[in-house]
Amino acid sequence: MKLDPSILARIQFAFTVSFHIIFPTMSIGLASFLAVIEALWLKTKKPVYLQIYKFWLSIFAMGFGIGVVTGIVLSFEFGLGFARFAQMAGPAIGPLIALEVLTAFFLEAGFLGIMLFGLHRVGPKLHFFATCMVAIGTLVSASWILSANSWMQTPAGVAIHDGHLTVVSWLHVLVNPSWLHRLPHMLTAAYLTASFMVAGVGAWYLLKGKHQQFARTTLGLGTAFAAVLIAGQVFIGDILYGTMLKHQPSKMQAAEGFWEKQSQSPAPYYWFIVPDQDHQRNRFELGIPYLGSIWLTHSLDGRVQGLKNTPRDLQPRMGMVFYAFRIMYGLAMVMFAVGVASLWLRFRGKLFSSRWFLWILAFMTPSGIIATLAGWYVAETGRQPWVIYGVLRTVDAVSPVPARALLSTLIAFVCVYGVFITAFLVFAVRIIRRGPGEAPPHAEASGSVKNAFRPYVLDNPERLVNGHITQRS
């Protein structure tokens, strides 16, 4: 079999970026959650908030670490796999990412050490400041990178002369047509991810009858956030849908599963299709009648535009976009139902005792991550065959690296990242099983404010006997 470098470069980028985005999604959500929890602790002085903080901090720290090391890979991979893209787009997206590093990465990194290890040394107020700086860093970082990615989706503000790109207006590059809708969409997704993680772990403890106070607090907070956020997300998603329909119609055509230029009227909403890209038709399709017209055209008999509106050689693969969209949208609907149910149960005073609901929440723990990943698959596979929509095709962007080198590094990435995710899951499950308050590795503060204010202990030479260091517990 002959290996195609462009396919391998794409698989490698897709694999490494998919793996990476899991962790920032968690970090963005959890960092803000931790800031809220620490604020509640400072305000109420209730020990349960410090317990929640320490528990989720240890999972946050692991996820953040993996996010950092897999993120560095991406900042070089533009050139490793897609040198032609880097050369062309560098003048536009390079400065955005450089500003991301300056204003976000350094901020996160500078205050992360204080957040993880500094409680004793700086006291709770300054420590809270550090937590807030890390949380703000994650938001600023998301803003820049979403701007860069949105520019690839809806490029603006540049002039191109014989393959060389010059920025004409930074304002238009930065505030390109899709950024203002995609940024809140991603941030809400990250917050939903954290909300469902936090609520899911709380639900699991309640099902096991353990750590009642911790579990009730986190489940209560998590479902409250989730109920508000999912309502907002449905609204933002609808606006974004309209934006992308206008600027990148091929993506939304592929997402809905219709081929003909105008679908039948009334249009069904497909949930299952077997697309046949070669013959430009579906071999099988299953949907709910009328719903397509109602949802997509907001009328009873509206017609939906199919993928044949886009010339064949400029079409994305329908199957990928369609199913990624179905997973994201399906999960959003389940989340919406869970949000409504949580409000109803809260109103009835049964939020912590309805076992069926607790089971659903426990199963929903990773739902935000899956939905976010699926959403990114819609965004990125739906943009194909372009890497910069309408400007540069992905096949023309690939580096002069032989296929064999690409294949061996792809295998290496899969193996190494496999170790990372396995270790992360093993340790996260262990932390969750061990439960809060059972000597988490980070921020082993005793809990009282007085102790946290204690001046830091300088190295104490008396503790050394014959150069022997006391074993750390």
Partner: protein, 329 residues
Amino acid sequence: MELPLVSACFVAFALTMYVILDGFDLGVGILLLFQPAAASRDHMVDSITPTWDGNETWIIMAGVTLLAAFPVAYSVLLPAFYLPIILMLLALGFRGVSFEFRVQSKHYRRRWDLAFAVGSLVAAFMQGLILGGLMQGVTVQNQRFAGSVLDVVRPLPVISGLALAFGYAVLGGGWLKLKSSVSLQAFANRSIRVSAAVFAILFGVACIYAVKIQPGIRSKWASHGIALACLVGLFAIASGMLTMTKKTRPAVPFLLGLFLFVVGISGIAVIVFPDIVPFSVTLWEAASSSTSQTLVLVGAAVVTPIVLAYSAFAYWIFRGKTPERGWEA
């Protein structure tokens, strides 16, 4: 306009920050290989844990500034060093996650320490390999990389890789002498002396080899006083480090190590200038348009002082000797 020159200075600044800051982190990681006592390894890792992430961020800064300001150089150099860069990234990955994972695992901490140490060693070696590859020259045609990804598997890059690993070990030893408690002082002194000696030998071999294969380097050393002065200075500092004993003040070897690297990088900068892809593409040929350069430089001018201020603050919070029971105790 001299914007590309200013941008190149910022790239060089970010790279220098990376090399000296993550250099001592990687050096401490490499020295873990030679530390049999588990408690001492904990102490060594604790000394770099609170600040490693910020140190590593400088390499991203250098990389994306290259992308923004010199897209041609970025798109030539990354494919040229495809293999060592990916191996470096994977090794840095192992090193980075080990900070967290080793704490989580009592039973397998030894294995995560090994991952930490080998990750540090491989990352350091690959960085040296890339440096050696740059010094032997990169094949470029029509602003694209036209050589083979295996061009780096040659003697000069390999010797440079080993030399840089020992150079980082010198820095790591200096850091340990500065930050560790009494129990590790002897280990730190020994590490500095041995690493400095091996570094000086390997570096000498690399220089002789470089002069043989790269006329660009030979002519620079022959014609340029500063380049030659850097070379002599480097050997002087390295031999000075051989005299470090337990009586030496704790900060001296670390500061000498920093000086060693700053002199080394200056020497390289003089040799490479005015190219950004050594001996084939100049700064000006590789530069992006002035709008892109301006945005990066204005951003850097405004934000870098703030970054340096709070990074220094983070170091100040964790100042003094590293507590033997870890930062949380």
